[in-house]
Symmetry: C2
Subunit: 419 residues, 2 copies
């Protein structure tokens, strides 16, 4: 039986967790190879999306992506050698979240890959995200690896990232929350739509790139094209910023607020503020997708994804009514987006003081998913996601519903711990 004081204690703890989450002030301070900045990252580490699994449990595109990462890093010469190195433990395979990282789709991190370094001005905590691979359909994070994928990754590593880092340092760091706050007033929800945030970020980096253009006009032009031509570009920054915010809310004694939602190719999982580092795992959630022309539902596959860190902090599916344009991409209607967004208020502990929705007359986004509210209402967290296909590459976009079993498992653990 739940007593009134237990509920009160939990609610107080949740208020504190959300307070920490929303007090976080993420600033992009640098771009560096993962080995130089990600704590615990070694030359022989490969990170991937989802609650950690033994190597043998990874499947499909995610497995292919992990092998691709080993090859890219030169830790093996062939897929067979890579598989052997992963099986034997010569290569350390682990989940991104434990390293302050978040993976897009398969989410492969290796030592040489550049990462955005985002630091919380409030606590000094850091979060990281690696780079968008460019416009090619074939990408490592969609489970592809060949010469083209390698060349694109190398291009980003050598021709883009160092100059972005230089510009960011010249700018003295770029605070991300003001850009995110504004982007929500410009049609973005900062998960599946980042059009405005990408432009706002471009404006921040123009001036330092003009300095750079004096010495190397081509590099400056290349960097600005890379950063602003693709409208998804800001997503990696949104993810790193959300990771910093979510981690800030983690570890509040008694709090039942979710601090991460993630999935591998095998399963969905959540982490809860007051429940330590345990992952509460379940099957994949239900997805309602709008597929690109020429694709069918039977091609839909799961190969991992940690971009739902954005929903964890009140963005993405929790801010759909800020992003009506998204309907042309992932389906639905404005009315449905309003209804879905309103439903999320039923399962959250607070309203975001920074992220606000103009259509709701600037009401704050629903923030801080409370596992108890999810179970009591039966309303499941919704995530705006890109949809990969079995043949590799993105085949559409849609809305993913978290599975209830992760929440019931977390509630059991909560009751076992707190009574």
């Amino acid at each position: 039986m739940v007593t009134a004081s237990a509920v009160t204690g939990r609610e107080t703890a949740n208020v504190e967790a959300v307070r920490r989450m929303t007090a976080a002030d993420p600033v992009l301070i640098d771009v560096r190879p993962a080995r130089d900045v990600v704590p615990g990252m070694t030359e022989r580490t490969v990170l991937t999306s989802g609650a950690p699994l033994p190597w043998q449990a990874y499947q499909g595109g995610q497995r292919d992506g992990i092998i691709g990462g080993v090859l890219y890093e030169g830790l093996a010469a062939t897929p067979a050698e890579a598989t052997a190195a992963l099986s034997s433990g010569q290569v350390t395979l682990d989940g991104c979240h434990g390293y302050g990282c978040v993976g897009s789709l398969a989410g492969i991190y290796t030592a040489s890959m550049p990462v955005f370094v985002v630091e919380d001005r409030d606590t000094g905590r850091r979060g990281f995200c690696n780079f968008f691979e460019g416009g090619s359909v074939k990408r490592l994070n969609y489970g592809c690896y060949d010469d083209e994928v390698r060349d694109n990754l190398r291009f980003v590593e050598r021709e883009i990232a160092p100059f972005v880092g230089e510009a960011v340092r010249r700018a003295g760091g770029i605070p991300l929350k003001p850009l995110m706050r504004r982007a929500l007033h410009m049609g973005d929800e900062l998960h599946s739509r980042n059009t405005a945030a990408t432009l706002l970020f471009g404006r921040e980096i123009y001036q330092p790139l003009l300095d750079l253009a004096r010495d190397d006009r081509d590099a400056a032009g290349r960097v600005i094209s890379f950063l602003t031509d693709n409208e998804y570009s800001f997503l990696r920054l949104s993810m790193a910023a959300a990771k910093v915010m979510a981690d800030a809310a983690h570890g509040v004694d008694g709090a039942s607020v979710v601090t991460a939602m993630t999935f591998s190719g095998a399963e969905f999982a959540i982490r809860v503020s007051g429940l330590g580092d345990a992952w509460f795992r379940g099957p994949h959630g239900r997805i309602q997708a709008r597929l690109f022309d020429g694709h069918t539902e039977d091609e839909i596959t799961f190969m991992g994804g940690e971009s739902p860190i954005t929903e964890t902090v009140g963005l993405g599916g929790f801010a759909q009514a800020a992003a009506f344009p998204l309907q042309s991409y992932q389906g639905g209607s404005a009315q449905l987006m309003v209804e879905r967004n309103l439903a999320m208020y039923q399962i959250t502990a607070a309203e975001n003081p920074d992220f606000r929705i103009p259509f709701f007359d600037y009401r704050g986004t629903p923030t801080g998913i409370d596992i108890f509210r999810v179970i009591e209402t039966g309303v499941l967290p919704l995530m705006d996601v890109g949809v990969p296909g079995t043949g590799g590459g993105q085949i559409g976009a849609g809305v993913l519903e978290a599975p209830i079993s992760c929440f019931t498992a977390a509630r059991e653990a909560y009751q076992a711990r707190y009574g």
Copy 2:
């Protein structure tokens, strides 16, 4: 009595007028001093907002602005001399609209002022708009003129405009409609909110500015700041593009669609496609404003404005449901904006094929105000406007309702002409 065939003829004509309006494809091709590009502009011409009036009829801030223009251009040394030159006709004073120009507020154009040159790729027709004067509260278009105003105008003329022109020419021209179309999906309605369009324009001009930065880094930095720091920046381009579109729709025999709405300090006026160059004049419309802190309603004044050319082509007040963020600036609520926007469909001849509103599931904006529908429904066109104060400068923003008498006057003329 109106016969069925008369209505049919009118509707057919209106369809053609709106077809021409929406077929226009405005491209920013250059920036030049007005004297070099505006047909009919002489060294001794001053243009101002509103249907043309004799000099003696201009009053308040608009009168001060006109005098300021004469002084700025060196056509007189003192306000008294300027007044004499205007009275005697030594300086030609006329309305902007007759010259392919549109004025912001008092809307003063003189020969040396740089203008954006916007050309319709469909017809070769050109429209012009002069430059935003910068962030100072004191501006010529708000009826102020002193050393500070002069220095700001000179700065734009000498330190900004030539470089913008250079960048635009290097870019090979910048098509505006794609930017406008996208901005409507990013919270702009392109009259009182131009935040996204300004950023989108910045992205278009950034690469040529990098070239420029090799020779003159400071100029490139100055230009990008000028063009993108102020979020209203794109309005001048939106106005010039709308002017080109509206002029394309002008002169269709039998069409009862409005092709310009404008006001001076003295009166409101409209022009109608099938009624030649006549202006149908009336009193100022009713304004519902949200004033900046420290200002009161009795300070509200009219000193001219031609930015309602944007409403004429289906933007601004006709696209409020694309711009919910605007409520924080000009008051109201999301619900009110939806209702107002829906009302505009009652008085328009068509839905815009390019300008679409995500919240209305991408329905085209109401486009082509039909004077007969305005009279039949009693629904008055709404315009999103900045509000000037008697003390000079902007004191708020709001929604302006066009006066019915312009429409009844136009209907009389229509019936006199077409029976």
